[in-house]
Amino acid sequence: MFELPSGAEIQGIIATLKASVGFFIPEIYLSLLFMLLIVIDLVAKGRKNNLLSITTLVGLAGSLFFIYQQHTMAAGEFFFGMYVLDEFALFFKYFFVVSGMLAVIVTMADEQFDTEVKSIGEYYALIVSMVIGMIMMASSADLLMIFLSMELVSFTAYILTGYFKRNARSSEAALKYLVYGAVSSGLMVYGFSLIYGLTAQTNLIKISSELATHGYDPLVMIFSTLLVLAGFGYKIGAVPFHFWSPDVYEGAPTPITAYLSVASKAAGIALLMRFFYIAVPHGGRPYEDILGIDWLSLLILISIASMIYGNVVALWQKNVKRLLAYSSIAHAGYLLLGIIVMDKLGTQATLFYLLSYFLMNFGAFHVVILIANKTGSENLDDYRGLGRRMPLAGAALTVFLISLVGLPPTFGFIGKLMIFSALLAKGSIYIWLALIGIMTSVISLYYYMLIPLNMYLRESTQHDDKEMSTGMPAQILMAVLMILTIYFGLFFAPLSDFAQYSSAMFGITLH
């Protein structure tokens, strides 16, 4: 039987909680924002929903201030080793908040929301709650916390995917997402339970030291790693856990597609890195004699499969959102390359690649939304002749796609350069991985170029050559994103330095 804690113990617990709260301000702030949004929605029912979106935008921007303040705090664990504050977590906090803001802006630009839903309702509140969940994912230091935060993200994502209630595709996507999500969460929790069985610990660092001191059965370890990978792989949309993503990306409201493909993937990457770098050790003392190599070969397999499958299957897509979904599977593969390297340079490269992916993918989806506003379609065939009718949108989309291929002078090129540098810096062992990465990116050129091909090389089927304006704010955002994509392709030092600064986890730096 459990014994009730003594008074002194309770005092101790309260003291720890009090001390920890100071490190938790951005999350508390965002939770308050979440509640505020619900209240506003209730009070202002029926009025213009711009109030909600502006509040969300300003609120999210405000949280950046609290996150910025955390830079001065010492890195470390709190809440009984449940939660961690380090440079790595800070990077992702910025990342998620800014991507949440972009999701809001993109939603405001999407005219489909005017027709598909009567009232925007709790939509923005859900976006904020997803931001909270993802921030917690990136800051978890404990298996329990990982599971809880991941479920928070997943549940909000299910609802947001199915937000167009009367749209059959949207509902279908939500259901598929839910079913796949439930299965992979189940598998992941089973993996966690095996790890707990091996070590009797849930904290990542404690698990790691337990494994190092007491050893383990390699078979059980590899099995549990595989199960855990199912959970993380589902989040990042890597092969073979990708089956949900084409349907969900196609069916979900486009802002949510953009948001999921960038932020949710990044959250999965953050968890994956933290879990595998810290909990399941590989190489180097004191883990030299541990068979940590197995998860690495698993990751290599997943990465190769994602790059090849994503890029090859995308070749046959006729729907732009679906095409970008397959491309995002391939990008998951490239991101994993940086993790496989397992050193500081690799971490830096992965974080940098995430930044570039963030910019170019959001940009691409933003243009897709603007085009859908005007043409009402996301089919490749309906992109014909758009280059002349929407010159800026066409140019911007071309830049984003070139960046996704990884051609200079764009952000995406530098991202690929960093990833491949990290691989080659290891000497000749990963050259073949780099070769696969580079060959698949040549394949990707073909399908990405299908979009400019339709926009510029083919004439519109309807003989209507009038220019279509997409509205000033949307044009400006598009132009800014396009210029940034090129600017960071030429002057990327600050971002790269930021990525390097952020590669420190738990105050430990890998080498």
Binding site: L345, Q348, K416, A425, I438, V442, F491, S496, D497, H511
Partner: protein, 544 residues
């Protein structure tokens, strides 16, 4: 100076961006002015160039000064990489004898390309923006001495070229454009990996940091012995050489990577064909001279005869294919493949004569082939067909045109007194005097015979004799009682008009002048080529 010559077209492109798209004439004039300004700068560079400085490797003390000229070296990106200190990318431009000839060629061909683009009517604004972007990137490639910068310029060329072929091209343009894009990207992505590998293998002797500088990479003592592409890693050095070579060979294009070229040429509009044949193909061989060979000299020594064999295949295979063509433009495209084979053959000789010949051939091929494509464009504009069999007896009706065609055709087949002869002669002298390539040269000589065959044959069929029954034009008797030619849908001048003469006459003059007195070009390149041969020679390597 070099920055200006590189970025002038981009500046022009930005100006054009602000011009409303209905002002076609202003757009054309802005582009022409930029191209002419580029030409003036090229002349200044040519006049200011000191042929005594060698280039290729660093000068005394590891500094590029004293070896390269018009050097601009500014730190561009410096960032920290975990475990590898800092990543330094420099904005590093400079010319030596090899690049200066190419800079002049590029300026010349770019200007002629603008003139030739005057007839483009569709989406003029977009056309010239892309054209100027392409012109900047080409120039940038020839003057960049930092591998990273070179790579950026190299890749920037692809996208404008894709659109220029894809939007303004012929009926099958989609296929040709994506084929061009995929082929060249396939070649260049491997270059990216080699570039990264080289970065980790080379230390700048002055700063002690890793570097992308091609100048530092050209000195073998700057390599870290056990690094991935260091001297000890023989296997990976061979692999790196081969993939780099393939990357450049695709651009040349070398058999068996040549199939994109005829497609691209047939679909591309005339000015783009001119740029493609005149400058872009040279980038392949330039890349070999600047990067591939001096960075991996021992692999080059081992592979010389292979390069020579591929050169010979190019010469003969290209000529055979040209013989079989019915489309005049396709014939010229294959003749390009054949003539770039001479460049490869000259390079494979590995001696001064061969390499001087190769570089001179690059220059001459640029001017001569530009002429050929322009001439094809002239007849295509009028007759809307390029089928050789649809013409006959043109010489009597278009005498000026026929005269220029004769000069160009004879220059292409290497008639003495025209520039092509001198470069081909040098190539063969070099190839014969090298033991490794002697027999390859003997076989390659056949290429000249076949080259003469297809050129003379097409000349005869199109220009001599009588009008054919199914010709693409009619004959009408004019008021003066003489027979005149009449093209359907053509209201312009029948023979060459002023704009066409402005494009062709300079090229004709250059071809004749450099055929009689080649020293202006040879004088510039000889010192650098001698230095290159020295860098590549086995003696120097064994001393290390």
């Amino acid at each position: 100076m070099l920055s200006l010559i590189v970025f002038l077209p981009i500046i022009a492109g930005l100006i054009i961006l602000a011009v409303p798209s209905s002002q076609k004439q202003i757009i054309r004039i802005v582009s022409l002015l930029a191209a002419l300004a580029q030409g003036v700068l090229a002349v200044l560079i040519w006049r200011g160039y000191d042929p005594a400085l060698p280039g290729i490797t660093a000068g005394p003390g590891g500094s590029p000064l004293g070896s390269f000229q018009f050097v601009e070296k500014i730190p561009w990106i410096s960032l920290h990489l975990g475990g590898f200190g800092s990543l330094n990318i420099e904005y590093f431009l400079g010319v030596d004898g090899i690049s200066v000839t190419m800079v002049i060629l590029t300026a010349l061909i770019s200007a002629i390309g603008v003139l030739s683009s005057w007839t483009i009517q569709k989406q003029v604004k977009g056309y010239f923006i892309l054209y100027n972007l392409l012109a900047s990137a080409m120039m940038g490639c020839f003057v960049a001495l930092d591998f990273f910068l070179f790579y950026v310029f190299w890749e920037i060329m692809l996208l404008p070229m894709y659109f220029l072929i894809g939007i303004w091209g012929g009926p099958n343009r989609e296929y040709a454009a994506i084929k061009f894009f995929l082929y060249t990207l396939f070649g260049s992505v491997f270059m990216l990996l080699v570039m990264i590998g080289l970065y980790f293998s080379v230390l700048d002797p002055v700063t002690g940091n890793h570097t992308f500088s091609l100048v530092a990479m050209a000195t073998q003592s700057n390599y870290i012995k056990d690094a991935i592409l260091g001297p000890d890693n023989v296997f990976w050095r061979y692999v790196a050489f081969i993939v780099l070579f393939i990357g450049f060979a695709i651009k040349v294009p070398m058999f068996p990577f040549h199939t994109w070229l005829p497609d691209a040429h047939v679909e591309a509009p005339t000015p783009i064909s001119v740029i493609l044949a005149g400058v872009l193909l040279k980038l392949g061989t330039y890349g070999m001279i600047r990067i591939n060979f001096p960075l991996f000299p021992e692999v080059f020594q081992a592979g010389m005869y292979v390069i020579g064999i591929f050169g010979a295949i190019n010469i003969i295979y290209g000529a055979f294919c040209a013989l079989a063509q019915k489309d005049l433009k396709k014939m010229v495209a294959y003749s390009s493949i054949s003539h770039m084979g001479y460049v490869l053959l000259g390079l494979s000789a590995g001696n001064s004569e061969g390499m001087v010949g190769a570089l001179y051939q690059m220059f001459n091929h640029g001017t001569i082939t530009a002429m050929l494509f322009l001439l094809v464009g002239v007849i295509y504009d009028r007759a809307h067909t390029r089928q050789i069999e649809k013409f006959g007896g043109l010489a009597s009706y278009m005498p000026v045109y026929a005269a220029v065609v004769t000069v160009a055709w004879f220059a292409s087949l290497g008639l003495p007194g025209l520039s092509g002869f001198i470069s081909e002669a040098f190539v063969f002298v070099g190839a014969f005097s090298s033991v490794t390539t002697r027999y390859i040269a003997m076989v390659s000589v056949l290429g000249i015979v076949f080259g003469a065959a297809y050129l003379l044959w097409s000349l005869q069929r199109m220009f001599l004799g009588q009008r054919r029954q199914d010709a693409a034009y009619d004959l009408v008797v004019g008021e003066d009682g003489h027979e005149h030619i009449h093209f359907h849908d053509w209201n312009g001048k029948l023979d060459l008009d002023g704009r066409e003469l402005a494009m062709l006459v300079p090229l004709v003059l250059i071809t004749i002048f450099l055929g009689i007195y080649p020293m202006p070009v040879l004088g510039m390149i000889t010192t650098s080529i001698n230095k290159l041969v020295q860098v590549l020679s086995p003696v120097v390597m064994s001393q290390m």
